[in-house]
Structures are given as C-alpha cells and as structure tokens.
C-alpha cells in the first residue's frame, strides 16, 4: 500500500482551479511532498508554472479528441505510481472536465469542485454531478460580487447538495482557504482497496462510458492510453 493523499480538483474553465491549487501547495502541512498532474484538452501551461514556482514534479497530458475526464480515469493508477516512484506523498490532479456531467472523483480522493461566484446563479444546477459527488465546493472570485449575491450563490449550491462543505475565497489572495487546508490536512491516505469512480459517467459506447468504474487503462477497452504513451491506442475488436 502506498502512502499518498489524492486530491482531485475539477471545475469549468477559468473558474480559478489553478489559483486554488497554488494556494493549496503554498499552505500544505509540513512534510508534504506534492506532485501535480494536469489533464487538459489542447493547451495548458499551468504545469510548467507550478514546477517553476514551487520546484515540484509535474506532468501534463493532453486528451485531444478524447474527453479529459475519460483520460484522467485511464491514467490515474499510472500517475499514482509515478508520484510514488518520486517519493511524493500528495498527488494533486487538475482536470479540465468539459461537459461537467462527469465526475472525476474516486474513492479515497478528496474531491474538490472549483466554481466561480460570477458564473451565474444557476450554474451549480447545470453541473450537478460534478458538484454533487465532490467533498468540498470552493467558490472563487467572491470579491467580485456583493455579499447578498454570494449568499444566494451558496443557496444555489445547497439546492444541489445540501450538506457539501462550501469554502468561499478570493483565491488570488487566499482569503478563507484555511477551511480547505484543514480539510486536506485531515484527509486520510489512500487505502488498499482498488480505486473506483464515485459516479457513473454519462451513457456512451466505451467501457468508461458504459459505467465501468475501475481506474487504469488495463481495465478498459476502446480508446485507451497509458501515462507515458504519446498517442492513445485502440484496444478491442
């Protein structure tokens, strides 16, 4: 069994995921050795920025024509072994989930949904599973809205998940993130059971899309990809 905490951070583009991750890395408890995996579609520079800023091992994977969350599911166990081989004890995965109906969160992970306060009052309803299966909802850019609007947005999240832990922040400044850091510090390492997804992705034709929740490309057919393979390949009839 490996000694590793797994943080999975998801949310719509430009919601402030990377700003939150920056604050998380900066404020991790003593003795934490983070590694970072960024999953994006065609372009991302966050991995290099974080590597330079914090001197931590990073990896990036472009999903191209494949859904980024699908890609994340396939490479997750490779990524854990990569982080372990570098003697790291926290793996932070940032996923650019696209249609927001997917839930990249797995068993053992701390699922963090990052949503911007300026994304519209109904946006929590539109990304229901991404929010509903998360452990923490981090609401960013709260400095840009009035207090009443912030509280109404919170109410909208509560409509989707009544008991989710809501953390409101201006992630650039780091205000309010003490509650997220406490949650991360208290989160246990991954256990010995196989890691599986918390929810079933939307209906489709590949083994991920039909609801097979095991992580790791070895457990799937269709379009698959190991972490260190440059191109996805097809496995099946």
């Amino acid at each position: 069994m490996i000694k590793m905490k797994l943080l999975i951070i998801a949310g719509p583009p430009s919601g402030g995921k990377t700003a939150v991750i920056r604050q998380v890395i900066k404020n991790l408890p003593e003795g934490s050795l983070p590694a970072f995996l960024k999953i994006d579609v065609v372009h991302a520079t966050e991995d290099q920025e974080l590597a330079e800023e914090f001197d931590i091992p990073v990896k990036k994977i472009y999903s191209g024509d494949v859904c980024p969350d699908h890609m994340g599911i396939l490479v997750l166990d490779d990524a854990l072994r990569w982080a372990e081989s570098l003697s790291r004890n926290i793996l932070i995965i940032e996923s650019a989930g696209l249609c927001l109906r997917c839930t990249p969160y797995t068993t053992y992970s701390l699922g963090i949904a990052v949503v911007s306060a300026i994304s519209g009052t109904n946006s929590p309803l539109k990304m229901a599973p991404l929010l509903a299966l998360a452990d923490v909802a981090v609401v960013t850019k709260t400095d840009l809205v009035s207090q009443a609007e912030k509280e109404v947005f919170r109410e909208s999240i509560r409509k989707v998940v009544s008991n989710i832990d809501i953390v409101e922040t201006n992630a650039i400044q780091g205000t309010g993130l003490r509650y997220l850091m406490r949650r991360i510090a208290d989160h246990p390492d991954i256990g010995s059971d196989p890691i599986v997804l918390r929810g079933a992705p939307p209906l489709g034709v590949c083994t991920v899309c039909i609801g097979k929740k095991e992580v790791g490309w070895k457990n799937h057919f269709g379009v698959i990809r190991p972490l260190d393979m440059p191109e996805p390949l097809y496995r099946g009839d």
């Binding site: 300026i118 009052t121 809205v145 009035s146 207090q147 009443a148 109404v152 109410e155 809501i166 309010g176």
Partner: protein
C-alpha cells in the same frame, strides 16, 4: 438580531511591512466609523478583513474578534449566523434571476421561513431610488442606483445584522440622506468607506488609511461640528442644482448665483 456584539480589530501590517497605527479598535452597537484614504490605500481590504472575520490569514495579518474572542466558525461560514452584512461597491448584479427569486433565495439563506420580508425589502428599496424596482425585474438588468438601493434594503431587512459595512455608497444614484437615516435607526454598528466629506465627518471615529494599512484613528470631539453643518448646506445646494440639471434645466448668469456659498459659511470653511 437582538444579541449585542463588540467587534475588535487587532492591528496587522501595511504594505511596507510596518505595524499599523493602532493596537486595537473596539466597535459597539450604535457606533459609526468612516474609513478614508486615497485609492489603493487599503480601505476595501480593511472592510473585507472585517467581513470575512480574518484570523491572520489575509495579506494584512489582521485579526477580527467578536466579544473579545475568535468568532465561532458558524459566524464566518453560515449566513444565518453571520453578524455582518456588507454592501460592496458593485453596482452590477450578475445573478441571472428576477428580483423576487433573488430576494426569496437570500431570505432562505439568511432568515428561512420569513418570506414576509420580501415586501418590506421592496418598499424600503423603493424609498432609496427614484426609479421604481419591480419584483419581476431581472437582477442583471437593474441600473446602478437600483442595484445599490436594493442591496442596502436587503442588508437592512433580510440581513438585519448588528454590524453593517458599506463600501462607497455615495457613488450610485441613491437618496443618500434617506439611506443614512435608515442606517442610523436600530442601534447598529455602521462602518463606511467613503470619499464624501460629509459622510466621513459625521462618523464618531475616522480611520485614515495609507500604504495598505491604518495610519491613524481620529476621534470626533465636536470641533468639526460646524464644518458638518456647512457641508450639509452645501450638500443641499448641490442636490438642488443636480436635480435641476437632471430635469434638463439651463442656468442663466443670474440664477447661477445659486452656486455661490453664502459669505458666512465660506468664512467658516476658510477657518479650517
């Protein structure tokens, strides 16, 4: 909320890393404080520290205590327990909801079961603005003055907290005097960021900001009273001229005398 609160601001550091010009500031129900200083001097950051009940975890390192102690987590995180309402500079609301939906959701967050507050909030909001707000209006379609009026009424009626923070309320088209009268009713502690001399002077204490920190705290000792009276007259005059301009009035050279302050008052002003 009937509970009585004492709010304490414990000093932090300014942008230059220097300790702020006070040790602690105590604020009790009924107190009015103004925060003044040039743009970028940290005025908004100070009220944000108060609103988020900072515990040394913001850039300034300030701590905010309630009744002399670190406030319970629910005060920070649960709107139903939060003793502070804040009205920000924003004069745009991004919520894609009607006024009615917005207020009902906010009532659910702050005062579950008190749907009766909807009408009271609307009535008060409409006394602050000349352009009537209707329940069916879209939040994102309100004018700056309407948004500001609604937010102040919301804070007073739905928030109804012992502590009220206001960030530059003078800049939107609202009836300032009616707002101030409503704020001073009901034994609340009011802290306002302002560039308006009248609002700045009528507070009991004035917090002066510089380089991102508090430079000094000036206690009002009554000596500024005559200046406040002067400013009230000037305000009144400006208000009349502004209203005439808005109605499309043109001023002849004779009627422009209205711009000149009476001799007695200008002499008093010169003494300052």
């Amino acid at each position: 909320m009937t509970e009585q609160f004492t709010l304490t601001i414990q000093s932090g550091k300014n942008r230059l890393g220097e300790q702020e010009g006070f040790e602690s500031i105590e604020i009790r129900p009924g107190d009015t404080l103004s925060i003044v200083g040039p743009t970028g001097s940290g005025k908004t950051a100070l009220i944000n520290d108060i609103e988020t009940l900072a515990q040394g975890d913001t850039v300034t390192g300030r701590r905010i205590l309630i009744n002399g102690e670190e406030p319970p987590e629910s005060f920070v995180r649960e709107p139903t327990f939060k003793p502070i309402a804040m009205i920000t500079q924003n004069t745009r609301c991004l919520a894609d909801l009607s006024v009615e939906e917005f207020l009902l959701m906010h009532i659910r967050a702050r005062k579950p079961g008190r749907e009766d507050l909807l009408e009271e909030t609307m009535t008060l909001a409409n006394t602050f603005t000349g352009e009537a707000i209707s329940l069916k209006s879209r939040m994102s379609g309100l004018s700056g003055g309407q948004t500001r009026s609604l937010m102040i009424a919301d804070a007073l009626v739905i928030g109804d907290t012992p502590i009220l923070l206001l960030d530059e309320i003078e800049n939107a088209g609202i009836f300032k005097n009616r707002v101030i009268q409503s704020l001073q009713r009901g034994n609340k502690a009011v802290i306002l960021v302002t560039h308006d001399p009248y609002l700045a002077l009528m507070a009991d204490r004035r917090i002066v900001m510089k380089y991102g920190g508090v430079a000094s705290v000036i206690e009002s000792n009554g000596e500024e009273q005559y200046l406040i009276e002067d400013l009230a007259l000037i305000e009144d005059r400006l208000h009349q001229i502004r209203e005439k301009l808005r109605q499309g009035a043109a001023f002849s050279s004779v009627s422009s005398k209205v711009l000149i302050t009476p001799v007695k008052q200008s002499l008093q002003l010169n003494r300052v």
